[in-house]
């Protein structure tokens, strides 16, 4: 899961337009074409409050190597029209070096964008499209952007064909419109630096949510129960097709209380199980999470974080479910919390979570966020990982079988229903080793110790964090902040700052010795996170011994963390 951390050479494109203008289709095709041309890239989506028919923006970043987050600025903003486009102004920073491609027929560039002083490139998208029978402005836009990105017409054509597989008139006119768009850019005489291309062969395009689903399946999950919720639904939708093909099942439950309890039932039955949700759904699952802790049921719960509190901002990202994930259970309920540190990492992080849940007979939470889950990237085919978490299963006819036996590791053999001679009752009440309810202080302490011990003894060495770089200062971060932090650090290093990066993948159980080792010799750290209240920083204070000189950069969502803002903090707080 290590990645190189050189500064990223990239080009960023934003396509905006009102509902039905087809900006998402154009964006998808552009990313696909770029991938076929041997580039890497990333596309995320933004839209207005309307369910359908409102303004939308496709946000792309293309690069020579794998790219996991947006940069500070956009090279090109293309508007199919300007209706309500100003609402995206804070999401699409442009500057004097940017191009704003707009259709003069759609009116002037709105103040929110023109103020940046970018070079305005008028392209009569509509008029050009009209000249092609059945042509649509978004395909003209695709051609224009493809040309700016240095992608050949043939590659663009293949991307269009891949989408419009039915062929026919629609395909024909799209191809023609695209070509007209390319021509228009050539005519306008604008160009951008070329990105070095690599080998497309063997690469994938995948969203974070799909990667999470695949990580689950690779990890062995064969039962999923869930209730739809933004921005986790795509995990479920992908799994609903994938699972039956590998002998698994997905059940749509009546609510989150049912979905997590169904997953618990299936896992009790011996089948690795998962549910996925977002903050409001996770809230409804904490009682059953506690049950899984007490009854020692392996279980994976994915929480794709969105803006909070309450229903909050369902379509935007934030890291503020950290508290509930770490501490949201009543009683002393040790469990595992894992967070992917990039879109691509959704796969291995989820697979690892399955491995830990199965091995430790514990619920494991996985915390991607909306910015990961709903973004699509281009990447090399993810390698297989040696993570085949297997439960310790009780042998048939085990004499005097004790489900919750006090073993040195804290892990006790778990009988699979159907097995002779090991019948037992799993219980969420405190219990004896046999599982019989007990309110005796001795049993309580023994089981509390056991449940804590099994997490303490596990081997997290390989994946607990990503640690990069050298120096006596460090940035400590997690989740989707990692990519912009990495980029900010690369810039800072280029400027001579020697700094480390520590991005925690394992949030719970805390690994204070490991962090201390990773920070050995570090005199000052900068904590970076996307919350309003500084949840991660508080957690670090609670569970780790931090250097006296600890600085914090935290801010709320929904705007993505930019490398530039982090870079300035690094310069200010760490380079001093």
């Amino acid at each position: 899961m290590n990645r190189d951390n050189a500064a990223i050479q990239s080009l960023s494109f934003a396509i905006v337009g009102s509902g039905g203008a087809g900006v998402m289709t154009a964006g998808q095709m552009l990313l696909d074409a770029a991938a076929r041309a041997g580039l890497c890239g990333l596309m995320s989506r933004s839209s207005g409050p309307q369910i359908r028919g409102g303004e939308a923006a496709a946000l792309l970043r293309l690069a020579s190597t794998q790219v996991e987050s947006h940069g500070d600025r956009f090279d090109v903003l293309l508007a199919v029209d300007w209706q309500n486009a100003h609402r995206f102004a804070s999401e699409i920073p442009i500057d004097a070096r940017s191009f704003v491609v707009g259709d003069p027929a759609e009116g002037a560039v709105p103040e929110a964008f023109s103020a940046a002083g970018a070079r305005i490139v008028p392209v009569p998208l509509k008029a050009i499209a009209k000249k092609v029978p059945g042509g649509r402005p978004n395909m003209v836009a695709l051609g224009a952007l493809g040309a700016l990105a240095g992608i050949g017409a043939e590659t663009l054509a293949r991307a269009i064909e891949a989408t419009l597989q039915k062929g026919g008139e629609a395909l024909k006119s799209s191809l023609a419109a695209m070509q007209a768009g390319m021509a228009a850019v050539a005519e306008a005489g604008v160009s951008l630096p070329r990105l070095a291309a690599g080998q497309a062969a063997g690469r994938w395009t995948i969203t974070g949510n799909e990667a999470t689903g695949l990580g689950a399946v690779r990890g062995g999950v064969r039962f999923v129960a869930a209730y739809p919720i933004t921005p986790a639904t795509e995990i479920l939708e992908w799994l609903s097709s994938a699972l039956p093909r590998v002998g698994g099942t997905l059940v749509q439950a009546e609510d989150e209380l049912a979905s997590i309890n169904m997953a618990i039932g299936a896992s009790y039955g011996g089948v690795p199980s998962l549910t996925a949700t977002s903050g409001p759904g996770l809230s409804l699952m904490t009682e059953a999470l506690g049950l899984a802790v007490a009854a020692e049921i392996p279980l994976v719960v994915v929480d794709v974080m969105r803006g909070g509190p309450s229903t909050g901002i369902p379509t935007k990202s934030e890291q503020a479910d950290l508290n509930i994930a770490l501490y949201g259970l009543h009683g002393d309920a040790p469990h595992v919390v894992v967070a992917p540190n990039s879109i691509a990492d959704c796969l291995p992080a989820t697979q690892w979570a399955v491995h830990l849940a199965e091995t430790l007979q514990v619920p494991a939470l996985v915390l991607p966020d909306q910015s990961m889950g709903q973004s699509r990237i281009v990447l090399e085919r993810p390698a297989s990982l040696p993570l085949a978490g297997a439960r310790l299963v009780a042998e048939p006819e085990t004499a005097n079988y004790r489900r919750y036996a006090l073993t040195p590791s804290g892990i006790s053999p778990m009988a699979r229903p159907g097995t002779r001679g090991t019948a037992y009752t799993a219980d969420g009440l405190e219990h004896s080793e046999r599982g019989i309810p007990s309110s005796q202080a001795g049993d309580h302490l023994a089981q509390l110790d056991k449940r804590a011990r099994k997490l303490d003894h596990a081997d997290y060495s390989r994946y607990w964090a990503e640690i990069e770089g050298e120096g006596d200062v460090a940035v400590v971060t997690w989740g989707s902040c990692t990519a912009p932090v990495r980029e900010a650090l690369a810039r800072a290093r280029a400027e001579g700052v020697k700094a480390r990066l520590v991005s925690l993948r394992l949030l719970a159980p805390a690994q204070p010795e490991r962090l201390a080792a990773a920070l050995a010799g570090v005199r000052r750290i900068l904590v970076v996170e996307q919350t309003h209240s500084g949840q991660f920083h508080r957690y670090l204070r609670a569970a780790f011994d931090l250097p006296c000189e600890t600085r914090v950069f935290h801010r709320a969502g929904p705007l993505p963390m930019r490398p530039g803002e982090i870079h300035s903090k690094i310069v200010k707080e760490l380079a001093a």
């Binding site: 695949l214 059953a288 002779r420 009752t425 799993a426 969420g428």
Partner: protein
Amino acid sequence: MNIATAPQPFSANDYKSDYKPVWCPGCGDYSVLLAFTKAMAQLQRPPEEIAVISGIGCSSRIPAYTNCYGFHGVHGRALPVGTGLKVARPELTVIVAGGDGDGFSIGGNHFLHACRRNIDITYIVMDNRVYGMTKGQPSPTTEPDWDSALAPGGTGLRPFHPLVIALASGANFVARGFSGDPNGCADLIVQAVRHPGFSFVEILSPCVTFRPDQREWGKMVHAAPVNPTDDAARAARRIMTDDGFNTGVLYAGNRAPFRPQTAPAAGLDAIEAEFAL
């Protein structure tokens, strides 16, 4: 007389564990436990192929008193646990059991949707029209004028009709028993388990501690005067107008049980190939 039948390796006692129930002396749930073990002996399913799933309440303590696999979960969520287990392990016999509070108050939504989903499980509710475990509060099936500390003078609310709701939401088998008749209950449980789809058995099971008045139930119950029907609307109408003490199988339907989706088997590689450019 049983000369012609095959030897029966399992007796009722083989389904009973030796943990002493925490129930009050005289609690109706003892007889439900007895009925359960008798029913399983009639079915001759090996104990380890049976899973008994419950929530929280006096009645929900039943799993550990059997020799089957058991799951004593949280309050109100027994049906989802049983559903997940049955879907993941269809070869097991899954029995979900619990109380009226567990099933109809906090668990009401799962009851609705389990009936609708019609998975092949059996749901036994020990209805004592009270929250026993928490020491005597009204449950959804409690009579409107039953006095208690939490609802002095009574709730004034119409009791919940579990059997009618079961029918309205699609349960495939609906029966009512009385714990005072463990053989009768055993018979209902046998039929319920054998019937495909979601089978619901309400067992009137007195709480002698908080509802001593229910000792009268023995005099009030009687066999339903008509044969079971497969017309849910008719069955519902009958139940809505009967005296609440009819016992027996009241409905046996023909809905096909839930089948999880299937798809042609494919290796993981085939699935992953779809991400390739």
